[in-house]
């Protein structure tokens, strides 16, 4: 069972590597991979596809700066955030904005598994854990 899971993970990683072109996931390649899997079913197709999905999702998330904000955020600010993150990670990063009133004030930017917290809610949480 463990050996099957390991083999599925390895296959998913191989497929993922094939889906990346110049450091970013290519929609065409993903379509090709899915078509290949449709024709040639691996032993654990669900496990392989789930692992493949996780890897692709993580890669896509690395190219997106998801900005949560309480209060107004204009296009110029989003552009500045995208530029700053692109510089920091050495790859093109696009910025998307989502309002989140729970932050009270400020921003939270998520790029991949990095989170840049500059919100009142974050500071209050830090204060609460320090007390």
């Amino acid at each position: 069972m463990a050996a099957h899971a390991k083999a599925a993970q390895q296959l998913a990683r191989q497929l993922f590597r094939m889906s990346v072109v110049d450091g970013t996931v290519s929609a065409e390649r993903i379509a090709g991979v899915l078509a290949f899997l449709e024709k040639n079913r691996p032993p654990n197709p669900v496990v392989v596809l789930k692992a493949y999905r996780r890897l692709v999702a993580a890669e896509i998330a690395r190219g997106v700066a998801a900005v949560e904000h309480a209060g107004a955020v204009d296009e110029a600010m989003l552009g500045a955030i995208a530029a700053a993150m692109s510089r920091r990670y050495g790859r093109p990063v696009a910025a998307t904005a989502t309002p989140n009133a729970a932050l009270l004030a400020g921003l939270r930017v998520r790029v991949g598994d990095d989170v840049y917290e500059s919100s009142i809610a974050g500071q209050l949480a830090a204060l609460a854990s320090a007390v």
Partner: protein
């Protein structure tokens, strides 16, 4: 007025702009105190990670697309999908004298209900052991207060001496006796005002023990007045395996603080068999490859990196380690036992048969050894007990042969009689360590034949009578033995005279 408000607003704005970078991950699976986490791409090996609800984890498995973490603390409220963040810190515990007299958990949090611990410093739980350049050879004695050990298997400051035996053979008792003895010596030494006196502080790490046993140990230490010089690190059987795994390293960090700050410390790991079992459990859940007896491949390193942290440092203090291993049916050749035997500087082997025969402490002279040898003994003990180990070994051999026949020559009979007397003399009740000067006096009396005319079954009474005679009537002589630490002709004459005086007063 508006300027003041502007200043406050500016301060708020400054705070509001202060961004914090966190690296996060998501719990994918959680079972038996181990979580598999997606993300955490920046996490370091052994880094503390923050779980929701205040629980802390340690990143132990850094794999290609997941991180395996052991969780210290309550895992009841954690679930799949919870966010986890890195802290950028390695696991650290509070250290310092503020911990003396306290009982703490594996993370250094007090569990004795005596309020918060007053500490200023923190040491990382995992540290590289001191190298060869900074180490000094072991040459200063650490008295256990147990005559059989101090005279035949001496332990020095900075040594690692394993205590090994089956369950219920008195392993913990030996360690508690040693801690009590350090406290007794500390009290005498500190009261004397001797500027050269170096107290020994003790750390008792209880790994996987029953809470009732830990309470019993605490009561024994408190009753003997030893708790004020002792830190107890408790990771009872009910704790999760991560706490059991980390507790000995936390104790070692606390001991290292004393060593680094020019003090001497003693650490007891009670016991490392349960520690290895906890680590095996973690490793199996982390799906690390298992080897012999299902232990992971790095189980030797688990204990070697812990015990190597005990040392005597050049120009600083020392950390003496007494690890405990529980054997099954006296099998010292089991996996974990042989590992720890090869790491330590000797072992004290306790035999079930001896224990059942009433020979307590049940030290097996043949299988016990101290690789530091007489380097860690004071001259007085060497003078009176230097040949004891050989004599007892010969006695055991003769006793084994004597079982097959009754026709023994006079010399053999005398040797057997003497051996039996030595065995009786070494019997010692639990939690009553003897000061080294008293041990010297008793061994002196034995060497000079003062116990020869006494019936074997009355030797224990005679020894007790001699001890009480010396402690009540020859206190000055005992103090002289303690300070000189060697027997010159004058001191020998005084001891001889004192023994003669006792012989007259003692009616068997």
């Amino acid at each position: 007025m508006s300027t003041v408000l502007e200043q406050i607003e500016l301060e708020i704005a400054k705070l509001s702009n202060k961004g914090i970078k966190k690296n996060t991950g998501i719990i994918r699976t959680i079972a038996d105190g181990v979580a598999k986490i997606d993300g955490l791409s920046d996490v370091m090996y052994n880094e503390m990670v923050q779980f929701p609800g205040g629980a802390i984890g340690i990143a132990l498995n850094l794999e290609e697309d997941e991180v395996g973490c052991v969780i210290l603390g309550d895992i009841a409220n954690l679930k799949e999908g919870d966010e986890v963040t890195t802290t950028g810190r390695l696991l650290s515990v509070p250290v310092g004298k503020g911990l003396l007299g306290r009982t703490v958990d594996a993370l250094g949090n007090p569990v004795d209900g005596k309020g918060p611990v007053e500490v200023k410093e923190y040491y990382p739980v995992e540290r590289i052991a001191p190298g060869v350049v900074v180490r000094k050879s072991v040459s200063q004695a650490l008295f256990t207060g147990i005559m059989a050990i101090d005279s035949m298997i001496p332990i020095g400051r900075g040594q690692r001496e394993l205590i090994i035996g089956d369950r219920g053979t008195g392993k913990t008792t030996i360690t508690i006796d040693t801690i009590i003895n350090q406290a007794k010596i500390n009290k005498v030494g500190l009261a004397s005002g001797d500027p050269k006196f170096r107290p020994v502080y003790s750390i008792y790490v209880a790994v996987g023990q029953k809470n009732s046993n830990i309470v019993r140990t605490l009561s024994a230490l408190e009753a003997a007045g030893a708790l004020e010089f002792t830190i107890v690190v408790a990771a009872p059987a009910a704790d999760n395996p991560a706490n059991l795994y980390i507790a000995p390293y936390a104790g070692a960090a606390m001991g290292e603080w004393f060593m680094e700050n020019d003090m001497d410390a003693l650490i007891v790991y009670d016991d490392l068999s349960k520690h290895a079992v906890a680590y095996r459990q973690i490793s199996l859940i982390l799906k690390r490859p298992s080897g012999r007896e299902a232990y992971p491949g790095d189980v030797f390193y688990l204990h070697s990196r812990l015990l190597e942290r005990a040392a005597r440092l050049e120009g600083k203090g020392s950390l003496t380690a007494l690890p405990v291993i529980e054997t099954l049916a006296g099998d010292v050749s089991a996996y974990i036992s042989t590992n720890v035997i090869s790491i330590t500087d000797g072992q004290i082997f306790l035999e079930t048969d001896l224990f059942n025969q009433g020979i307590r402490p049940a030290v097996s002279v043949g299988l016990s050894v101290s690789r530091v040898g007489s380097a860690a003994q004071i001259k007085a003990t060497k003078q009176v007990g230097g040949k004891l180990k050989g004599e007892l070994a010969q006695f055991r051999e003769l006793a084994a042969f004597a079982q097959f026949g009754s026709d023994l020559d006079a010399r053999t009979k005398a040797q057997l009689e003497r051996g039996n007397r030595i065995v009786e003399l070494f019997k010692q009740p639990a939690f009553s360590p003897q000061p080294i000067e008293l041990q010297v006096a008793v061994l002196f009396a034995m060497q000079k034949g003062f116990f020869e005319p006494i019936e074997i079954r009355k030797v224990v009474d005679a020894a007790n009578s001699l001890k009480s005679f010396f402690t009540t009537r020859k206190e000055a002589l005992l103090a002289e033995v303690r300070t000189k630490a060697a027997l010159d002709k004058e001191l020998e004459a005084k001891l001889q005279a004192a023994c003669e005086e006792w012989k007259v007063s003692f009616a068997p």
